[in-house]
Subunit: 267 residues, 3 copies
């Protein structure tokens, strides 16, 4: 019953129309019948590593210690990319070594990184196209039962970083960009909220293909009238562009990569 | 282990592409590791209080006694709207005081209503935009562990009612309207099935922008030929407009708010 | 606690926007509070028996022995179609007798087939339109608690087969067709992988309304350059048509029913 309280979470680009996620869960529950399973999302656009990395970074810390986070956004499945288990002080991460784990790992103290290379822990036969079911799922199940990370393969010193756009600083101005749109049409940037707190009050410039817009940095939606554009530090911890009661993505015709500049206002 | 058999259900407008629902679940499982979680739906259109209220009213009674139902359709998050826990004889309801709980509560015997105002029960720091994670989720977790509703804040006498269209009665005619369309294109009205049983056999008039249609009130789809329009008392307990083997919404170009009139047929 | 380790899975065409799936789960958890629930998919297109049958056939075997698989793709609900429980050596299947179980059952050793006809096991009152909630869900719950299949109604010798296209063999050529498209746009055929292994190396002809395409049969996506068409034995065990890094469905304008021919290549 060691696994009674262990949690496994999932982030994939498998969608929910097909049976792929269920196959992973079936394999896990055959090996670890009492582990608890939580879907973070399966709606990462196919192969979209930044979206997968952001979902993991935004969600993983809200789970209890010892949770095992499995991420299968894996456009290189079947190629030579490595598969990893990363043990940190508080969590375990399982997924391909393609950068999708790297945003979350940037906030963690890493204890060990091991490649998944010992087939005795895999679901046999291992298909060439579905390592979610055949490699990542069974490894997560065995981890939940207490198998140490070192059992799955040789240690590795480092992991691949995502090609994540850096935030630039020019004097009193921070320059970032839009990296994700959520269901509500809020545009999430790569600018961490901590970098902004000393700059409030501030205003934000957004450069779209249709021109520039300026918005105030405020603490919540209702600080501007309904239908107005605002910027705020969102629940994920990053600067977001939003419209009170509407979709910033639609209203401003935002696209991923649009530049966002924050400048300190006169106080 | 007091929470082993406790259930928490979720109705939100968060969708499933993002990590918002998972953050709520992570927070809950950190506080109440053995509680069981069931999604009712996360696909309420953003801010659509009638759709959220109907989903709750249609689903809540099918869950075991002592289930805790959490509803986060909360366009006023961050404003002055109250957050509530409502204890009834059989269930516990947690959500904003904006009417989204009111259709379900109309069928319940209420024991107590308390505002969620004591921050020691919240997830800290409380964000201005995500009370699902920071207020409603932790309160539901504590409730599942036996914390009484009165611990979360002061009692309140009443709750806000949804602006739900009333059913009108003119002689032998009931007049209601379409309030929701389900996945199959069935149009659900605000007319409760109990009000119809004495009127059967009956026929139903539907007034759309394209004119009037008449349909028989029948007990199931196959009572009319394939492709024909019918009315029936649906599984949610309300009068529905449907097409056997098709989508009434598409075939009749129905819209929310279209009028529906039921009159007794010649027997 | 007999049901502690029992699993119930779900395949339906109910979608996830409405409360229908949750009502099934609520009914089950009221009867069997410790059973575990796993969604396979609720996104079967309404009434699409081949898609439901394929999802079950592709997924069911990955679950532990004694799992109860519930399938509710039931366009004939309310008509005279029978409802079944099928006990095989390893699993239990619950659903309408309309062919949706038949692809999976073709791979199972059947012990008993019983019709669901004893109302004492149903959720009362049984609606005419929602046997998922009122018949299939409570029967699955009782099965998970150890009620034998024979308790639910009279034995039946056989079950209805799906109208599934047969694979034709002409000399050295296998002729099948596209039966399903997954989220990634991979086109799954009705040709089982076992029938192909002796034919490798092979090439595959796909006949679409826009003409013929030829693709090599390879073991994984990266065996062809990015953007190229390939055929492979997919994770579901059937021959699939795919594009490395893209959607075969879109690129080749594939449709269900398009013919696929496999011929042995010169080695």
């Amino acid at each position: 019953m060691a696994s009674l309280m262990r949690l496994i979470t999932f982030i994939t680009d498998f969608g929910v129309q097909d049976w792929y996620v269920a196959c992973m869960k079936g394999v896990i529950l055959g090996l670890a019948p009492t582990v608890r399973l939580v879907d973070i999302t399966h709606e990462i656009p196919p192969g979209d590593l930044p979206a997968g990395a952001l979902a993991l970074a935004a969600a993983y810390r809200h789970f209890p210690r010892r949770t095992i986070h499995v991420v299968v956004v894996d456009p290189g499945v079947g190629s030579a990319r490595a598969a990893l288990v990363v043990q940190t002080d508080d969590y375990c991460f399982v997924g391909p070594d393609n950068g999708v784990l790297s945003l979350a790992l940037a906030g963690e103290h890493i204890q060990a990184i091991h490649r998944l290379e010992r087939p005795q822990w895999f679901h046999q036969p291992v298909s060439a196209t579905f390592h979610g079911r055949d490699v990542f799922a069974p490894v997560a199940a065995h981890l939940s039962r207490g198998v140490p990370a070192a059992e799955f393969g040789p240690a590795q010193r480092d992991f691949i970083r995502l090609d994540w756009p850096p935030v630039k600083i020019k004097g009193d101005i921070l320059i970032g960009e839009l990296v994700y749109f959520d269901r509500f049409g809020n545009g999430i940037t790569n600018i961490p909220g901590q970098q902004l707190e000393a700059r409030i009050p501030a205003s934000v410039d957004i450069a779209t293909r249709h021109g520039r817009r300026r918005a105030p940095l405020v603490p919540f939606f209702q600080a501007v009238p309904r239908g107005y554009t605002l910027a705020m530090i969102g629940s994920s911890g990053f600067l977001e562009i939003a419209v009170n009661g509407g979709s910033a993505r639609q209203k401003l015709a935002l696209r991923r990569g649009d530049r966002v500049r924050v400048r300190r206002s006169d106080p």
